[in-house]
Amino acid sequence: MVVGSLEQQRADRIFHALSDVTRRDIVRRAMEGPQSVSALARHYPMSFAAVQKHVAVLERAELVNKRRQGREQLVQSNIDTIRHAFRLLDQLEAIWRSRIDRFGEVLAEQNEGAAK
């Protein structure tokens, strides 16, 4: 299905972008507000060009947006994409909360059984 494969490609780009620790760190920093590429580059033991490449990968995955301000390029996180990931984690949280509730109930029943 065309739509499905496009969505899959998008997911693959996001996954690839987030598979690198430097890129994850860039996303976190850019969530706090726009960061210039040169300011970001100071945080990592690599060249400005290398950081620029990481930013380009994040941009293709729509995890960050880039805009020019004077001589600087400002990088900002794309909150929608990140929020999407967060909503999925919310669902996972609901599944595990319910599992842990049941876990606790079964344990408590046993405790009662042992006390009798």
């Binding site: 969505e7 899959q8 997911a11 693959d12 996001i14 996954f15 987030l18 994850r24 996303v27 976190r28 990140i82 929020r83 999407h84 990931a85 967060f86 999925l88 984690l89 919310d90 669902q91 996972l92 949280e93 609901a94 599944i95 595990w96 909360r97 319910s98 599992r99 842990i100 509730d101 049941r102 876990f103 606790g104 109930e105 079964v106 344990l107 408590a108 046993q110 405790n111």
Partner: protein
């Protein structure tokens, strides 16, 4: 409340949930180690789990199926990565086909369970779930949607029984 803390890191696609139980570590570990105990909490009330094989040794497998309200039986498996009873368990959790073999078209998650004895005699349980990719996370949760729908009911049930389980 049993659940003490939930931490979600959407960049690393990891969720960590911490719960505390008023029980010694032995019985808490048994909830994972004893298949009859495991099946009492793994699936929601509308999709109870039946554990078919259960080998908690590194490289060992756990195979299970759940039975839905329409009689459907989705299957799942664990591949055990690390075991250090009663403190640590790490496994890969995935979907299986009708024959019970791992379905390679479906994503898997890595689940790390850590149990720790508390000074008051209780047990702290931390479960960290990591998705290999956002696409995988979407696919997995779409599969678990029905489970998600039945959660509301289970949670109300749970709330009504909180006076029994509350610590």
């Amino acid at each position: 409340m049993t659940v003490k803390d939930v931490h979600k890191d959407s960049a690393a696609m990891t969720m960590t949930i911490t719960a505390e139980f008023e029980a010694p570590i032995g019985p808490v570990w048994q909830m994972w180690e004893n298949p009859r105990q495991l099946e009492r909490w793994w699936g929601p009330p509308t999709y109870p789990a039946t554990v078919v094989t259960h080998d908690l040794t590194p490289g060992g497998a756990v195979n299970y199926f759940m039975t839905g309200p329409e009689g459907e039986q989705p299957r799942g498996w664990w591949r055990v990565i690390e075991v250090d009873a009663p403190h640590h368990l790490e496994f890969e959790d995935g979907f299986a086909d009708e024959a019970g073999n791992p379905d390679s078209t479906m994503p898997t998650t890595i689940i790390r369970v850590t149990l720790g004895e508390q000074p008051d005699g209780g047990t702290l349980m931390t479960i960290e779930t990591t998705f290999p990719s956002l696409g995988a996370m979407e696919q997995m949760l779409a599969m678990g949607m029905e489970e998600g729908m039945s959660l509301a009911v289970g949670q109300i049930d749970g709330l009504l029984r909180t006076n029994v389980t509350a610590l």
